[in-house]
Amino acid sequence: MFAFIIRRLLQSVLVMLTVALIAFALFRFVGDPINNLVGQDTTLQDRQQLRETLGLNDSVVVQYWRYVVNTAKGDFGYSYMHRRPVKTMLLERMPATLELSIISIILALFIGVPMGVYTGLRRDGFLAKIFMSISLIGISLPTFLIGIMLILVFGVMLRWLPTFGRGEVVAFGIWTTGLLTASGLKALIMPAITLALFQMTLIMRLVRSEMLEVLRTDYIKFARARGLSNRAVNFGHALKNTLVPVITITGLQLGSVIAFAIITESVFQWPGMGRMFIEAVADVDIPVMAAYLCLIALFFVVINLIVDLLYYAVDPRLRIDGGGSGGHG
């Protein structure tokens, strides 16, 4: 177990170093950093001096290492565009994205899993078939289209919900939350639904197919043959066996939800990191782009780590030391 965690941590570090290398390469190959920092009328000599002070004349390896160390410390440099520390900008934007993403994934889980279980158990039921048809829409409609349609209906026509922004927020230190004000919650509804819909249908279909698979297994038949109640069989025995793939996919999806919040954030003008990234791309604001890249990679790595640990919690076959812990009485 311990060795396993250590190994996974080392792998994670390796992944992060690779991502940092790519981010670092952005600086060197997308435009000249000096040009991005200074005005047109700066003399050649000044440029040279800036080059020297920024360490751009050092060897690539030294520069890369410096970049890694700075990044690890959370120092992403200054935005070319806004002339502010990227770290500050990220910290301002992160709460909006994280709140949106986490609420979305919770929404997707808490609706997707029960719907998946239901459609798995009532394979031929009328409601199950309706759920399946709706899920097809969720899976095939592009996110931005769903967002725009929601805006059109609930924002423009019915005027129930705001069409952009995050509403009022309350600050706790560096964290700002929209979850505590009525306008913040209202503003969250449409973006969260938009972002959750795809994940929800994905989770639902996954849980359904896993349920169908598990319900065919011998141990489920044997559980029924022992007279266990339907609840114990379906939820105690079957559902738990569908968890491993659900955890995997949900974990990966949480990563992509954060990453692909970009589209939703653009549609709803949500003041999150995704929109900041889009703006940075438009402005060729390399430090912001690089920082975003590293941060998203970090999210993925951390989530993957958590997913692996959850496997351990769920599946005793992975615990090498085995046994000893599962008593009931």
Partner: protein, 325 residues
């Protein structure tokens, strides 16, 4: 336990398939009834029908199942569920897949015990331990909290037997309990099953296609072919003086238990598929002693000595004469 004229059908788009047709038999307390027949003969379906776990679209189209004189085939699901495990236990073929891999043995035992018996956690665990001891799990006290993957195939089948015995059922349906096991372990499991059932007076329906297992364990044996009973009678009589030509074929050689040399393949041809069961006796295309009437008229079970046989060879005195030829 009695099965009366049981008929199991599968409605399909191209008409109804009859998988089990007009089967009747009894099992008395403490008795082991062996059920043999080729794969697809309808053995498992019969077992599933008895515990009320036929999978749709399969359904009991006709007949009844009685447990201690009470009809159980038409009970609502919830009542039947209380009978499963409590009065009828089941053991399946593959011990490697019969146990939920995510739960410890103790959890699965305690859950089953508490489903049927009013015991608290501690009492249920004590009972679980006793059961594991009884089925011969060494150092059960340590093993009880282990997970299925930490047991060997034979040990897992013992756990499965313990699970089936949780609430001391009156009848156990064992569907090929040794087929998936190592030959060296098969005999142990069979004698364990036999011993336990004699002690507790539990009746057993022992489904297998291994005549060796039948010879070893069963008191009576039913030979099934194409969803029907070809012959049923005391095990010694069926083995020594098989009457139905199909049974003859099966008995061609009885391997010792555990010696899987010859199986049921000495008879030429294969059992017909459900859609292609011929008129008359379903065995007639493969039968050495086939007569004209076998292709037309379906034979009914009739008493011959201590057995009952479905074969035209035994129709009246005439039949006896021909059988003697």
């Amino acid at each position: 336990m009695s099965v009366r004229n049981l008929r199991i059908e599968f409605p399909t788009r191209r008409g109804t398939l009859v998988a089990v047709d007009d089967i009747s038999f009894d099992i008395s307390p403490g008795e082991i009834l062996g059920v043999v027949g080729e794969s697809g003969a309808g053995k498992s379906l019969t077992g599933a029908a008895i515990i009320g776990l036929l999978e749709p679209p399969g359904r009991i189209a006709q007949g009844e199942i009685l447990l201690e004189g009470r009809r159980i085939d038409n009970l609502p699901y919830e009542q039947l569920r209380r009978i499963r495990g409590r009065q009828i236990g089941a053991i399946f073929q593959d011990p490697l897949t019969s146990l939920n891999p995510l739960y410890s043995i103790s959890r699965q035992l305690v859950e089953t015990i508490q489903t049927h018996l009013p015991l608290n956690d501690r009492e249920a665990r004590t009972r679980a331990l006793a059961l594991l001891d009884e089925v011969g799990i060494p150092s059960a006290g340590e093993r009880i909290d282990h997970y299925p993957h930490q047991f060997s195939g034979g040990m897992r089948q013992r756990v499965v037997i313990a699970l089936a015995l949780c609430a001391e059922p009156r009848l156990i349906i064992a569907d090929e309990p040794t087929t998936a096991l190592d030959v060296s372990i098969q005999a142990q499991i069979i004698s364990l099953l036999k011993g336990l059932c004699h002690e507790h007076g539990t009746a057993v329906m022992l489904v297998t296609h291994d005549m060796g297992v039948i010879a070893e364990a069963a008191d009576r044996v039913a030979v099934m072919y194409s969803g029907r009973i070809a012959e049923i009678g005391p095990v010694q009589e069926v083995i020594r003086t098989a009457k139905h030509p199909y049974t003859h074929g099966l008995m061609g050689s009885i391997p010792l238990i555990g010696h899987h040399v010859k199986k049921l393949t000495q008879i030429d041809g294969a059992m017909p598929r459900l859609q292609e069961i011929p008129a008359g006796c379903p065995f007639n295309p493969r039968c050495e002693k086939v007569m004209d009437c076998c292709r037309v008229e379906r034979p009914n079970l009739q008493t011959v000595q201590k057995s009952r046989v479905a074969c035209h060879l035994f129709d009246g005195a005439d039949g006896e004469a021909r059988a003697g030829e």
